[in-house]
């Protein structure tokens, strides 16, 4: 590993970074500060600090802590948590400070080491002299007949065919060939570092120029105002979004299958998006603002439950309509109340499908009220109850609202660029190595030297194969 270490950082002792001792001189202090921010130990320390402190926010509820939680902690503890910003710790001053230090650390490390790495790439050692040869782990010496110029041409063709196009240098009658593969892989680490900065920039852009909001729209109505998720501040959209319809469907198990809203966008009096269905995982974007299906519920206004009541002994059925919770008198003198209704009952009563209502019937002159469920799809079901009155549910005209998350994030593409850079950088840093081969042609001797900055065992195999091929020539 020693080899790799020195090769990557390219100085003899990168860890003992200059004069760490504080001197009274300004320059000494600045140097010490610079060295501090360049140090790898700081990087490891910050990574471990970020990892351990991040745990706090996963254990303590973030945002407004629920009262149940507050009851479990003492007053003193609450005050400490509050003071340390534990209820919004990822935005607390000390966590942000850690992130800033982390950023400065990354930038400083890269500024310090990048020029040296760049020099290895842009100004490669073209000549393998005797002292340089000794530093290489892989070398092989051949005796070869022929004059230097023809050997040079032969070797040039060999390297070009088997490895990479070489650069030829002539020095004191000797020819030096140098060829390399993927020198830019050395930049992988810096690409990853850059990607983190890019992601941070994207996140900042999003927080300054974007917003996260939500809005509830009742079916058949529209809105041009949404509310920020933090603080319920109203935000003007500049256009109107209408919810034409909301529907929820269920699996046979009663688990939800799909939440779907039909949205229409009206901009400047014109319908620009007409009844576009949005579901979870398929949002609608208009003018950089995206609407996500998030929740739903009964609008709780103007809804009527419709029922049909008939007597077991015969007679004309009676149609009834009543508001949720409203009580009404029935033909036989008893009274009924519509307690609640659902568009889809299978989530509560898995054997049944479709709409249903729970009603309560109180016998004439008081007595024990009876509550039961009636179904729209099973009109004969209530007959099995055996009572004198048979109820059928005919549905409701209760409106639903659709709950939408609304987001505008102009920084998101910057974040994705950063993410792509990170993946590319990781692959460059971990799976590619800078492979170099030198050939020296000297009076009937051909000497091969090779080095790779990563995965030496793998390169050794490639180098040995190269030597074998040369032997056969």
């Amino acid at each position: 590993m020693k080899n790799v270490r020195e090769d990557i950082f390219f100085d003899k002792n990168p860890w003992k970074s200059g004069s760490v001792t504080l001197t009274t001189s300004n320059r000494g202090f600045l140097q010490a500060l610079w060295d501090f921010f360049c140090s790898l130990k700081l990087a490891i320390f910050l990574l471990i600090m970020l990892a351990t402190t991040s745990i706090i926010g996963t254990v303590i509820p973030q945002g407004t802590p629920p009262p149940e939680y507050l009851q479990t902690i003492s007053d003193g503890k609450y005050k400490i948590y509050q003071a340390l910003g534990f209820f919004d710790m990822y935005h607390s001053w000390w966590f942000i400070l850690l992130l800033y230090l982390f950023t400065v650390n990354i930038v400083a490390c890269s500024i310090k080491r990048l020029p040296r790495v760049w020099k290895v790439i842009s100004e490669p050692t073209l000549v393998m002299d005797d002292s340089f040869e000794k530093t290489l782990g892989l070398t092989h010496d051949f005796k070869m007949n022929g004059d230097a110029a023809s050997l040079r041409d032969k070797m040039t063709a060999f390297l070009k065919g088997e490895f990479a196009e070489p650069v030829v240098t002539e020095r004191e009658g000797e020819f030096h060939l140098f060829a390399q593969k993927t020198p830019y892989s050395r930049l992988g680490v810096y690409v990853v570092h850059l990607s983190i900065i890019v992601i941070f920039i994207g996140a900042l852009l999003g927080s300054f120029f974007g917003y996260k909001a939500y809005v509830n729209i009742v079916e058949g109505t529209g809105t041009s105002v949404v509310y920020s998720r933090s603080g319920q501040k109203p935000i003007e959209l500049g256009f109107t979004v209408r919810c034409e319809d909301f529907a929820v469907t269920f699996y046979d198990t009663g688990a939800p299958k799909e939440f779907k809203s039909l949205l229409t966008v009206i901009d400047g009096g014109q319908v620009v998006v007409d009844k576009r269905p949005i579901i979870v995982n398929d949002p609608l974007t208009y003018k950089g603002i995206t609407f996500y299906q998030s929740s739903y519920g009964p609008a709780g206004e103007g809804g009527l439950y419709h029922f049909t009541v008939r007597e077991r002994k015969g007679g004309a059925p009676v149609k009834l309509s009543l508001h949720p919770g409203e009580r009404t008198l029935l033909p036989d003198g008893s009274s009924m109340q519509g307690l609640e209704a659902a568009q889809e009952v299978s989530q509560f009563v898995p054997q049944f499908r479709g709409a249903a209502a729970r009603i309560e019937v109180t016998p004439k002159g008081g007595g024990e009220p009876q509550a039961f469920i009636v179904f729209q799809n099973y009109p004969e079901f209530d007959a099995q109850r055996g009572a004198d009155l048979i109820f059928t549910y005919d549905g409701s005209d209760e409106k639903m609202f659709t709950g939408l998350q609304v987001a505008k994030d102009p920084g998101v593409w910057v974040v994705w660029t950063g993410c792509s850079l990170m993946v590319i950088g990781c692959c460059m840093a971990f799976f590619m190595s800078h492979k170099r081969v030198w050939i020296r042609v000297r009076k009937g001797h051909v000497t091969l030297g090779g080095s790779a900055n990563k995965n030496q065992p793998g390169f050794q195999l490639a180098f040995d194969a190269l030597v074998d091929k040369l032997k056969q020539q």
Binding site: K212, Y251, T253, F430
Partner: protein, 284 residues
């Protein structure tokens, strides 16, 4: 033949494989070691067939989704990825004995899933109905599996380093003699982690992309997200520690084990102990 039967055969194969590797440590016979590897490969093939069959079964039931949607399916997939990464390392580097410390993780997962979990195929809830599910789960679990292998190797490292310390500078005997040298273990640990780290990175990125697509926020400091970042920080620290004096060897091995403990917490602890958006994996 149902997928459930095939999963049982795979589980049994991993049991045989683990026992063979343990025997291999004791009797040092090459054939026993080979038997351990072959048993795990056989199990892997059956396991693969079982996952594909379960996928098909979900289509037959009219639900049609990749078997990656709940705790049972994820544990089964996790075990599969562990054997996959072990197989790659076994075939590439030929340190068979590593199996004794890695196959048990897969066996544990399979045994837990087969014996202790509800294994019925359930339809996908709306939040999971996305192609991101496939990309996100596969990258995350391949990463987790690489970390599991690294953890097994680090345990070997600590056992071997500990024995060698107490036995002085001489090579320790007994079961430990079958272990690769600590230098090789250290290198294998690193190799497993450089497989895992980019995969975890991709897993976090695909998760963020999916969250952005489904909810409009790529990062919301949800416990699952935060724990995945914690894991990422730990392995990032590991990768940097390798270039620092005093952090190689034992400390690196400890960091690798801590990293895997955090990985397991990120995977299971968050769902079972904490609350958050990522609730599909819980209970199961």
């Amino acid at each position: 033949m149902t997928s459930s039967m095939l999963f049982n055969i795979a589980t049994f194969s991993y049991l045989i494989s683990m026992l063979a590797f343990f025997t291999f440590l004791a009797v040092k016979s090459k054939h026993v070691g080979l038997a351990g590897s072959l048993a795990s490969y056989f199990g892997f093939i059956v396991h693969t067939a079982a996952i594909l069959l379960r996928w098909k079964e979900s289509y037959d039931m009219g639900m049609g989704h990749a078997p990656l949607s709940n705790l049972y399916e994820s544990v089964v997939f996790f075990a599969w990825t562990i054997i996959l990464i072990f197989g790659i390392i076994d075939l590439k580097y030929k340190y068979r004995v590593v199996g004794a410390f890695v196959v048990p993780f897969a066996l544990l997962g399979m045994a837990w899933a087969q014996l202790g979990m509800e294994s019925g195929i359930q339809p996908l809830v709306p939040a999971l109905q996305s192609n991101w599910l496939l990309y996100h789960v596969i990258t995350c679990f391949l990463g987790y599996a690489a970390f599991a292998v690294a953890c097994g190797i680090s345990i070997m490292y600590l056992i071997k380093a500990g024995k060698e310390d107490s036995a002085g500078t001489t090579q320790a005997g007994g079961i430990i003699s079958m272990f690769p040298s600590i230098k090789i273990l250290d290198d294998l640990n690193y190799k497993a982690i450089i497989i895992g780290f980019p995969l975890l990175t991709l897993g976090i990125i695909t998760g963020a992309a999916w969250a952005n697509y489904a909810w409009g926020t790529y990062w919301s400091w949800d416990p699952k997200e935060t724990w995945s970042l914690i894991v990422w920080f730990i392995y990032a620290a590991f990768l940097h520690a390798r270039f620092t004096r005093g952090w190689v060897g034992k400390k690196a091995a400890v960091l690798s084990i801590v990293g895997f403990a955090a990985t397991i917490f990120c995977y299971l602890g968050v769902n079972l102990l904490l609350s958050g958006l990522h609730s599909y994996g819980g209970g199961g």
